[in-house]
């Protein structure tokens, strides 16, 4: 029998193939194209048609797809219709800020959420558990932009402690810039993640194997760390993968409010200008990242609790 990892990787390749078709088809559905948008006011219809031919927009969709896919496989994401530069450069320039934001957020969220989850799970329905559960539930119900606006109003405008927007410069060398955006992203993710860890801990604590280990005299601390935690981590890791996806693709609100030139900003700009190659390139990179994150999460879970030998 093939190993779980091999099967799971095989599945990921199939997903990747389906995904590339979807990315291409969906972006082609956008109304209007770059030629329309750029040239309507200055050029005659015949000139527009000529430009369209030059950009390859008049080819049948299947041919365009094969051409695009061939280029993508060789590492060429195409040329932006707006800036005229390679799409790969746009990806490279925008992904840095998003990665810094995502990784910094996760570095704070993960340990905190795990700790909170275990604290809540081991005191199921106790006073501490109910207090933290209520707070996290309330926090996760507030939209990001509300938190962002409130934080900016208080810390930047009123107190003047932190910069409200990105004013150029390297994110890494000026951590003050990161504090407010991370604070916004932090709230919801820590809530969702800690609740999953809590649920996992509660389930593992009530499992028969933990009862049995306790009956065989395993001390409480050892029981929590070695018997409960690996099982409790599984739902947490899956939620972490989902959080990773969201952070990479969905930090738009945060990027917009704090004017950080990240991935989501580049993507929205591309859609607005009908810059199809850019949109396709960015979407593809994002989708592959999501695929890899989920693949990694599944492999980690199978390593933690190797119950699934084969995919069903």
């Amino acid at each position: 029998m093939r190993s779980y990892a091999a099967q799971r990787a095989g599945l990921a390749i199939v997903q990747l193939a389906v995904l590339s078709v979807l990315v291409f088809v969906l972006t082609s559905l956008l109304p209007g194209d770059a030629a329309d948008l750029r040239f309507t006011e200055t050029l005659t219809p015949s000139q527009v048609a000529a430009l369209r031919a030059e950009l390859g927009l008049d080819q049948p969709p299947v041919e365009r797809f094969v051409h695009w896919l061939g280029n993508v496989v060789t590492g060429d994401l195409g040329t932006s219709l707006i800036s005229g530069g390679p799409v790969a450069d746009i990806v490279r320039n925008s992904i840095g800020a998003t990665l810094v934001l995502t990784l910094a957020t996760l570095a704070i969220v993960v340990p905190l959420a795990v700790a909170l989850g275990i604290v809540m799970g081991t005191r199921e329905n106790g006073r501490v558990d109910r207090t933290i559960t209520s707070i996290t539930l309330a926090l996760s119900a507030i939209p990001d932009f509300v938190i962002a606006v409130v934080l900016v109003a208080v810390f930047s405008l009123k107190l003047g402690w932190l910069p409200a927007t990105w004013i150029g410069g390297n994110l890494l060398s000026s951590p003050a810039l990161l504090i407010l955006p991370i604070a916004v992203l932090f709230g919801r993710t820590v809530c969702l993640l800690s609740r999953q860890v809590r649920a996992g801990t509660v389930a593992a604590l009530n499992a028969e194997y933990v009862t049995q280990a306790r009956r065989l005299g395993v001390p409480r601390r050892q029981l929590l760390l070695r018997h409960v935690l690996p099982n409790a981590a599984v739902p947490g890791v899956q939620e972490l993968a989902r959080t990773g996806d969201t952070l990479l693709g969905g930090v738009l609100v945060v990027e917009a409010i704090f004017a950080i030139p990240g991935f989501a900003t580049a993507l929205v700009d591309g859609v607005e200008t009908r810059d199809i190659p850019t949109v396709q390139g960015l979407t593809l990179v994002l989708a592959i990242a999501a695929l890899l994150i989920n693949l990694a999460a599944d492999l980690v879970c199978n390593r933690l609790v190797p119950r699934t030998e084969a995919l069903r």
Binding site: Y209, T211, Q212, R215, L216, V218, L304, P306
Partner: protein
Amino acid sequence: MTLVVRVTGLSATAGDAVLVDGVSFEVVAGEVTALVGVSGSGKTTSALALLGEHGDGVRLAGRVEVAGQLVVDGNGVTAAASTVRGRVVAYMPQHPGSALNPARRIGTTLQELAKLHDGDPREAVRAAQLPGDRATLKRFPHQFSGGQRQRVALAQTLTCRPKVLVLDEPSTGLDSITRLQLVHELRELAATGLGILLLSHDLDLVRALASRVVVLDAGQVIATDVLPPAPDLETAGTSAAGQPLLTAMNLSASLRPRGRDVVLHEADLAVRAGACLGVVGRSGSGKTTLARCLAGLHERYTGTILLDDEPLPVLRKRTRDQHRRVQYVWQEVRGSFDERRPVDQQVARTAQRLRGLTPDQAHAEAVAILARLGVAAITAARPPSRLSGGELQRAALARAVLANPDVLICDEITTALDDHGTALVLDLLTELKDRGTALIWIGHDLRLVAAVADRVLVLDAGRVVEQGPPATITTEPHHELTRRLVTAARIGDPHSPPVLTTDSRSEPRR
């Protein structure tokens, strides 16, 4: 004679409810003491008191002394209780396989326990009859078969080098040959000087092993050193003459499409109205697959199934009348009940759906049949999670009987029942037979099957290896497996100690 456990006047109370009332018993090193009683009689509560363990809101009182340490006194659980867990008393739960952590290699847990209790994992693995090589120890629990998982759990408890081993219903779900092996292994363990406390409703097992017996009922000791008599099983009725009602010819079944993984090979069977066909075999011999084919649940089969000379299609193509005429009760019934609705409503539903009764009529019939099977109306009005395994098994039977079936297939339906419950079930089935219902009774206990059936069919590895009237099968078995089943059926009989040497438990899964 060393006394390792002395329990005197133990009581367990939850609020006003008394779960255990003045129970006393002793366990001696090198011997087996049995706590006997129906489920809910306080066996497990009494045994867990040896560990100082009790349910939420339950108060223990009395005196429990384990290897010289006082675990429970008049004021409840003492501080010393935590020191006896594992090291002095090791407890094996009813389904030990599910007590293994899926995230840990078995060797890791064994090493951990050995370190805690100065045990020797190698010796424990050998005593539990597991291969002790590195590859085995590096496996995860899911890579073992059900039988081997029980051994892994046993190895864990033995690694703690306890003085007392508590076994909670160790024979649940074992076929009779494996049960026989269990008897030998437990004898060997006791011979090493271990005091064993056996909790069981399986009187045959108790007879074969225990030197002291304590009978519990509703939390009180009602007898010591005397076993309640086994109920007389009725002898087989004469088989009714006439045409076969249900016939299967050349029936082969496979697990995967296009005939791969065949689990049943060209079986032929016929059962007449008012007759009972018994099917015996070890676990994995294809008994349940055969039943599922007849019930229409297993669709990957070839061959012919006829009901009254008309072809019987698979379940989803059956008419409502065909649904009614063939009913199937299987072994693992908990999953077949909706968790949120009361059991009596779910039982009554069959009569509404298949016989068109009004809800009130159906409910009245359901309650009557359940009461006859020993499930009180007040119990049946609860959701399934509040019923014991034995009660649910009987509810599942009642649910099928309410359809007024012509053919009733019973697949190991008495595994969770004590002797009294079994007798009630057999009584109902005898009446059904007299009314002309054809029964197919599947079991691994040849003694019981022989008492119920007019004709017995022996399955081994998916093939019918022998069939005939029960008297012939039990007195002149031809096939090797039949001989072993006949021997195993006698484990409660003190005059013919059964002997079995080879380990025939199933191989580990890959």
